[in-house]
């Protein structure tokens, strides 16, 4: 049986007792169409079912490149799947060398286990579920280790540097004040603006202070600061630790017996948990100030009336409830950032993924925690 295409990638197949011979001729280049390997071999096998050896050789082969190699590798894979032997001695020496070099070292796909990945939907769902379960296990292990290392810190046995902590405090707190203030001021301004327009219809302009005060103290200050810090600091934590992972700096710490969680994670978590409530207080003050600017500018409310109404409307429980929440949000952001950084891969793109993932995880965590707080505060009557 002969397959001679018009473009001269020729292939002859015949059998000699138990040997199926495939003989290449003509031009086997990538730009030239070549026969479908499995189809032609299986068609030949149907006619000669007793074959057990596939012999690949050349005869009058004018030129070849990777096109021939692709065919040979497919033929070898097919022969292996059928339990046949494959004889390549008749191929050009260069092709034999390349094929043997390629099979000398296990493929990267085999090395990382991805060779077993299936395209079947159900199998993929199952694999994702199993890997999800493993990820949950790894995350819980991280939380457990963090708890143990926090205890070591309380007992004064944690390995960390005060100098790093001070720098982290500076980066997390004072350096974030400007952006937090700006966004809080604008948020207060927008809420007051929307509120005043509606309240003026009922001649109830003064209640704009209640609206702005309660919204900012109970919810917006904490959530706004949380989202800003997740994007700013959570991503930075993931990128910093992720880069250290790529540069083997985390391995270097471990090799000295220094716990990366004590040295890298704990100071970051502490810095954010300490600074978030302070930033939240700042956001409260500036946000209410923003509301006041609008109230005074476009309604009949005076500064004194606005402040008096704020004092009446916003209780200490509202204020401290928000501040407490921001501390918890800080914990969530820091854990998300540090966990994503430590579980970062070993290449540059993994650092980007870790930073993105830290922000998404942080913001998702904040929203979930805020919903839980809403229920709890309602139950506690706060």
């Amino acid at each position: 049986m002969a397959y001679d295409s018009a473009e001269w990638a020729g292939l002859n197949l015949w059998s000699e007792r138990e040997v199926l011979v495939a003989e290449f001729s003509g031009v086997w280049r990538l730009m030239v169409a070549r026969p479908d390997c499995v189809k032609v071999i299986e068609a030949a096998v149907k006619e000669q079912p007793n074959c057990k050896v596939l012999c690949l050789r050349e005869d009058r082969l004018q030129a070849w490149d990777s096109s021939l190699l692709i065919f040979v590798r497919q033929a070898c894979a097919w022969a292996e799947s059928q339990g046949w032997d494959c004889d390549l001695r008749g191929l050009p020496e260069g092709a034999q060398n390349i094929i043997s070099m390629a099979s000398a070292v296990p493929s990267a796909a085999e090395s990382d286990g991805s060779a077993q990945n299936s395209t079947d939907l159900l199998t993929r769902i199952g694999e994702q579920a199993i890997s999800g379960q493993k990820r949950v296990g790894v995350f819980l292990e991280f939380i457990g280790q963090l708890a143990m290392d926090s205890w070591a810190f309380v007992r004064g046995r944690a390995q960390w540097r005060m100098k790093d902590f001070v720098v982290l405090l500076q980066e997390t707190g004072p350096q974030a004040v400007m952006i937090v203030s700006l966004l809080s001021f604008l948020t207060g301004l927008i809420i007051a603006f929307i509120g005043v327009i509606q309240l003026q219809k009922f001649a109830a302009d003064i209640y704009v202070a209640d609206l702005v005060g309660l919204a900012i103290a109970r919810e917006l200050a904490a959530v706004m600061v949380g989202i800003i810090m997740a994007g700013r600091t959570g991503a930075a934590y993931a990128a910093q630790i992720g880069s250290m992972q790529v540069n083997e700096e985390v391995d270097a710490l471990t090799s000295f017996g220094i716990s990366p969680i004590q040295f890298l994670v704990l100071p970051r978590v502490l810095a954010l948990v300490l600074m978030m409530p302070l930033l939240c207080v700042c956001a409260n003050v500036v946000g209410m100030l923003g509301g006041m600017v609008v109230a005074v500018a476009i309604s009949e409310v005076s500064v004194i009336q606005y402040v008096n109404e704020l004092k009446f409307a916003v209780g200490l429980s509202d204020f401290f409830g928000g501040v407490f929440k921001s501390g918890v949000f800080g914990l969530i952001i820091a854990i998300a950032g540090c966990y994503r950084g430590l579980s970062c891969g070993r290449d540059a793109s993994s650092v980007g993924l870790a930073a993105t993932s830290a922000v998404v995880t942080g913001i998702t965590g904040i929203v979930i925690a805020d919903a839980l707080f809403a229920v709890l505060f309602n139950l506690w009557g706060i």
């Binding site: 070292v105 990267a108 790093d164 083997e248 391995d251 000295f256 017996g257």
Partner: protein, 250 residues
């Protein structure tokens, strides 16, 4: 006397086994090179030896003590060795001097002045005296490696591990680093384990070399590289590796 012993050691990542049934030892005071082709598992073996990855099977002994990274006792063993990572792995948020000082601050009761003195000494040993105030980003590749080496020897380790010390260095810097490794071995009396595939380094520094083979996932031979080259019974793959394939064997 054995510094490190591997018994039926299997190494790998996740489910994947890179090497299995490894049996070898590193004698005290010798320079042992772990060699083999790219991707054969040399660096993976190093990561297992220093406890960054847990063994899949078998065990590693430091002296007579089993090294299990999950055991709290492992921290004591870790303090007995220093590691030079491929790119130096200097902590980028600290100066060179702070990098060298950190292990001393964590594990000794030395005063700040004594630590400063010792840091300068270690940096001078690797030819970086007076450069302690520089940030790692201000150093060349070779200087980073030497700074990493100064940090690795900060606690006077009994065992020094080197991961591809010559990678990315010009031949002259590479030769200087080889000489430095031998000088430090003699000065500190340390045992040295080097992962490399640089032939010049292998012949220059190795007392014994271990050849890892990716195809069979095991050790093909263990011996002095010059003797391995002269011995006709040496596995053809190893001879081919040691002669850059110039003897015609594959």
């Amino acid at each position: 006397m054995h510094g490190i012993t591997a018994e039926n050691l299997s190494i790998g990542y996740g489910e994947h086994i890179v090497m299995e049934g490894l049996n070898f030892d590193v004698r005290k005071g010798e320079v042992k090179v772990i060699m083999g082709g790219s991707g054969c598992g040399k660096s993976t073996l190093l990561k297992h030896l220093i406890g960054l990855e847990p063994a899949k099977a078998g065990r590693i002994l430091y002296g007579d003590e089993v090294f299990d990274p999950s055991n709290p006792r492992a921290e004591q063993i870790r303090r007995r060795f220093g590691v030079l990572f491929q790119g130096g792995a200097l902590w980028s948020s600290m100066t060179v001097a702070e990098n060298v000082a950190l292990p001393l601050e964590q594990y000794t009761d030395l005063s700040a002045a004594e630590i400063r003195e010792l840091v300068e000494l270690k940096l001078s040993l690797v030819g970086l005296g007076g450069l302690g105030a520089r940030a790692p980003s201000e150093l060349s590749g070779g200087m980073r490696k030497r700074a990493g080496l100064a940090r690795a020897i900060a606690l006077d380790p009994e065992i020094l591990f080197f991961d591809e010390p010559s990678a990315g260095l010009d031949p002259l810097s590479s030769r200087r680093l080889d000489e430095l490794i031998l000088e430090l071995r003699d000065a500190l009396g340390a045992t040295v384990v080097v992962v490399t595939h640089e032939l010049a380094s292998i012949f220059a520094i190795a007392d014994r070399a271990l050849f890892l083979d990716a195809a069979t996932k095991t050790v093909l031979c263990d011996g002095n590289p010059n003797e391995l080259l002269e011995n006709t019974s040496t596995d053809p793959k190893v001879r081919s590796f040691l002669t850059r394939g110039e003897n015609g064997s594959n």
